[in-house]
């Protein structure tokens, strides 16, 4: 019934718009050719072009003022993060510079040279010097960006074994994450999804006979000691997932049938991040919004939203099915002592099996 009603209303609205358009249409003077622009049209649209240029500038400024100083853009929490952020800022400045100028030229020319009857345009078909200039300038600018970018990329993706990174597996399945620590030997035990044995609680398919697997530790929260390089090995048991850790400027897909990797060094503990002034401001803002939203919920007889406290997050960033939108894991960066205390409390693999 509601469906029928909605469709009827939609049809009526469409008819109303249709009729209004038709009235507008019929109100036009009959004598001028309705298809071709007159001098008056050129003038009006020329001014509108300048108006539109102003609109583009205004929306740019509004966006930057309201949403431009995002902590995610400025506060990286990993060693390589600042390289990415610098390159990002350089690229953005360049983009805004080129954008401002080219949009000005485009819209200003559209206004300045709006047509008039009897005027003749300049026959200007070619100029090799100009073509050369606007080929060579992008070449130079892009060469700079490519060199900087590739340098950063190679640094980020190459794993330096001499750093002796802590090896951690990120294990993805519909729709949750697990972390596997390599234990005292810092070597992950062999694994394959074919070895999964739910009855024995071998949920990640570790090779029970492999000595390296015995001291592995499987957790549902990711704890990382600050300042220590960590090398993630990613695995997925079913479909593609992507381990996205935006605060650390880190992302890598998890692919069934292969192991992918990404390494970084966390530099800011969760506690320190929570105490940063801009983070306090952001969280305060979020909590104000949540209080407002809670009022609505309470009025409907539902529970109020919990107060939010900042935590680093691991999100799934590759479409993976129905609950893709809620596939997350908390990341906690802490001091070495705190980390050691936490990891000691966790069960090692051989003790977690049910025999």
């Amino acid at each position: 019934m509601t469906a029928l009603l909605t469709i009827t209303i939609l049809v009526f609205i469409s008819i109303a718009i249709w009729q209004m358009v038709k009235i507008f249409d019929l109100a036009q003077p009959k004598n001028d050719n309705p298809g071709v622009a007159t001098d008056k049209d050129n003038t009006i649209n020329g001014y509108l072009m300048m108006g539109f240029l102003a609109f583009i500038y205004i929306i740019t400024i509004v966006c930057i003022v309201l949403w431009g100083d995002l902590p995610l853009l400025s506060n990286s929490a990993s060693e390589h993060g600042s390289t990415i952020d610098n390159l990002m800022i350089i690229s953005l400045v360049l983009i805004f510079f080129v954008q401002t100028i080219t949009q000005f030229l485009l819209h200003y020319f559209a206004f300045k040279y709006k047509g008039e009857k009897g005027k003749k345009a300049l026959f200007f078909a070619d100029n090799n010097k100009l073509e050369f200039i606007w080929t060579i300038i992008p070449v130079i600018v892009l060469a700079g960006l490519i060199i900087y970018g590739l340098n950063a990329w190679i640094n980020i993706t190459s794993v330096d074994e001499s750093d002796d990174p802590m090896v951690v597996e990120l294990y993805a399945q519909q729709f949750n994450w697990k972390a596997r620590y390599a234990g005292a030997d810092n070597t992950l035990g062999l694994s394959n999804v074919r070895l999964i044995d739910i009855d024995k609680a071998n949920i990640l398919g570790l090779d029970e006979a492999d000595p390296n697997a015995q001291d592995d530790i499987i957790t549902t929260e990711l704890h990382l000691p600050v300042g220590k390089p960590v090398l993630f090995k990613m695995r997925s048991q079913d479909v593609l997932h992507s381990a996205y850790m935006p605060h650390f400027r880190a992302q890598m897909n998890c692919v069934p049938g292969m192991i992918t990797q990404f390494g970084f060094t966390p530099t800011v503990t969760t506690k320190e991040m929570r105490e940063r002034p801009d983070m306090i401001e952001k969280i305060q803002n979020i909590n104000d919004i949540r209080v407002e939203n809670s009022k609505v919920l309470i009025a409907k007889g539902e529970d109020a939203l919990e107060r939010y406290e900042f935590d680093y997050l691991l999100l799934c960033n590759k479409i993976c099915g129905k609950s893709h939108y809620n596939m997350q894991m908390k990341i906690i960066v802490e001091t070495e002592e705190e980390y050691n205390a936490w990891i000691k409390q966790q069960k090692v693999f051989k003790n977690s099996l049910i025999n």
Binding site: V36, A37, L72, G115, L122, I289, K322
Partner: protein, 596 residues
């Protein structure tokens, strides 16, 4: 010219053809009718695609709130009017598929290649009218199958328009990967066959059927764009076909091309040895050239419309051709920039960063050439011209962020966020749509013999232009804040609560912009019957299509095909009094052919 053309000339001169309703309007082999069929089918698919986008935008802005529209249109997928998470992904998937392939590939390139190639090069029809007809009907069939797939029990395909396996391969991973995905694959396989038949036809026609004097360097840029687009299509579409066929084998015949080591719903599957990354390579080997298959025809249309409405030659005709060729070449060696974080070797990532950023160079040349074309022109700001200027504006805005996404180091953090959505919608979605609208406003008189109402065109343009920026500009910022795309709701992440209002603003712009497309639809359909009769050459253009009679006839020209004596851009030629000289006007005594 050729014997083929002469035979036609004899046939058509006396109007001996007997046309029934079926041969004229349905199984037509006339390129002009086929163009209109493509356009109207594309328009219908476009309406479906846009309504879908408005629905999922409403879900993002007002998550999990009952909406009567959902209840009416989604039925069992919106119990009590609350959108289901599965159908959200399906809407996103089908919206992408429809807009990329059915509207902006078939609707844009199919319409204008068919309409303009024979008319602008001076040919009686396509090289093979029959293949052309088959091409359209395969496209129609694939559209029908895609629409039918919306009604299957377990839901339409929902693995994203990129249909990465294993998600798309395993029905137990997602309801939409059952019959819905089968129909999606069948529809796309047929679509590819249609596209290949069309492309081959365009290539052969452009190479063989040009009228006397129409050398390659006298061709309008539209034809160059359609020609190169067809070449890219012939190179890359078969690879997608192979990917689709291999995926069908994995799904239905137990092979393991893309699958290996899978444990799902409590059981181990038999697949062994395949790789999903292989599928990504095959998919993007088409997927990236595909965005140029979409944008190049729009660039061609815009170049032509800008020159005509500026009353000036297009600036740097040869540089424009060179940049089309450069873009076409580079487009086939950049696909890996979609896969920086896919797990492929980081060294490959470096190579693809390099080739990708190179594309900025021919793109910049094109943008500067368009801007210079306006300089000291006598701009006739017709709706088609406004859409062309709008095209350059969104192409620049969207294109510039490409230097962030093409840079592998930066892509790590914005990959698959709303930043990407903003980027590609501006640079190829909105831009190509503007190119298509520009083409429709400009060549409507040629297609239907009547004029579109320009004032409605102005309203359509300005509202659309404001809304397009209103939707996609703020989207960059929520993307840079780390908000992933394809999330049914963000309410499980309090971290993003401060971005909720941005999503509401975006959705309001989208709804207003969507509603104003009705103005265009009214203008389009009403003008077919009630529009003012068009003069033969309403825009005073130089190209050959405006030398044909307003009333369509089979064979295009009543007499001999006109010969061509000059390039396509003799606007405001100082050697002539008129501000345009059609291509079929011979050089005057002592006249020098400029810039050819």
């Amino acid at each position: 010219m050729s014997a083929h053309a002469d035979i036609h000339a004899h046939d058509d001169h006396g109007h001996h053809h007997k046309e029934t309703f079926v041969t004229k309007y349905i199984f037509s082999q006339d390129h002009k009718m086929i163009a209109k069929q493509y356009l109207i089918t594309g328009t219908i698919m476009g309406v479906i695609g846009i309504i879908m986008s408005l629905m999922f935008r409403m879900q993002i802005a007002w998550p999990e709130e009952p909406n009567v529209l959902f209840e009416a249109l989604l039925g069992k997928w919106a119990p009590d009017g609350v959108m289901d998470a599965d159908i959200y992904l399906a809407l996103v998937t089908i919206h992408g598929t429809i807009m990329v392939f059915f509207v902006l590939t078939a609707g844009l390139s199919g319409t204008f290649s068919n309409l303009l190639i024979p008319l602008q090069i001076g040919a009686r029809d396509m090289a093979s009218g029959f293949l052309n007809m088959v091409s359209y009907w395969l496209f129609f069939l694939s559209s029908v199958i895609m629409v039918i797939s919306l009604f299957v029990e377990a839901g339409p395909a929902a693995a994203g328009w990129t249909i990465y396996p294993p998600l798309s391969a395993l029905p137990m991973a997602q309801g939409g990967s059952g019959m819905g995905m089968t129909l999606w694959l069948v529809s796309m396989a047929i679509f590819i066959a249609s596209s290949l038949l069309g492309s081959l036809n365009y290539i052969v026609t452009v190479l063989n059927l040009r009228t006397k004097g129409m050398s390659m360097t006298r061709l309008p840029l539209t034809i160059w764009a359609f020609f190169i687009t067809a070449v890219i299509g012939v190179i890359s579409f078969p690879v997608l076909l192979s990917a689709a066929l291999l995926l069908i084998m994995d799904r239905s015949f137990g092979t393991s091309f893309f699958l290996s080591d899978i444990f799902i719903q409590g059981e181990v599957l038999h697949y062994q040895g395949g790789s999903p990354v292989l599928f990504e390579h095959l998919f993007w080997f088409l997927g990236h050239p595909e965005v140029y298959i979409i944008i190049l025809p729009a660039m061609g249309l815009v170049s032509e419309i800008m020159a005509s409405n500026s009353r000036k030659p297009i600036f740097g005709y040869r540089a424009m051709i060179a940049s089309i060729l450069a873009i076409a070449f580079l487009s086939t060696i950049v696909w890996g920039h979609h896969m920086f974080v896919s797990g492929m070797n980081p060294f490959l990532g470096s190579v693809f960063t390099f080739t990708t950023l190179l594309i900025a160079i021919p793109s910049a040349v094109k943008a500067f050439n368009w801007i210079t074309t306006l300089w000291k022109g006598n701009l006739q700001l017709n709706p088609a011209m406004l859409f062309s200027i709008g095209f350059v504006s969104t192409f620049i805005t969207g294109g510039l962020t490409g230097i962030i996404l093409g840079d592998s180091a930066l892509d790590i953090n914005v990959h698959d966020t709303y930043f990407v959505v903003a980027h590609f919608h501006l640079v190829m979605g909105i831009s190509a749509l503007y190119g298509m609208f520009a083409g429709i406003y400009h060549w409507y008189p040629k297609m239907f013999g009547r004029m579109l109402n320009k004032n409605l065109g102005y309203i359509h343009f300005w509202v659309t232009a404001v809304c397009a920026y209103g939707v996609f500009f703020p989207m960059h910022f929520i993307g840079m804040a780390g908000l992933p795309r394809r999330y049914y709701t963000n309410s499980n992440f309090p971290l993003f609560d401060d971005l909720a209002n941005v999503n509401v603003i975006i959705t309001i712009f989208a709804l207003v912009g969507g509603a104003f497309q009705l103005v265009y639809l009214y203008n389009f359909f009403a003008s077919i019957f009630f529009g003012k009769k068009a003069p033969q050459n309403p825009w005073k253009s130089t190209t050959l299509e405006w030398t044909t009679p307003v009333e369509h006839m089979h064979g295009n020209w009543p007499g001999e095909i006109p010969h061509v004596y000059r390039w396509a851009y003799d606007y405001s030629n100082p050697q002539h009094e008129e501000d345009f000289v059609p291509q079929n006007v011979p050089l005057k005594d002592g006249e020098e052919e400029l810039h050819h």
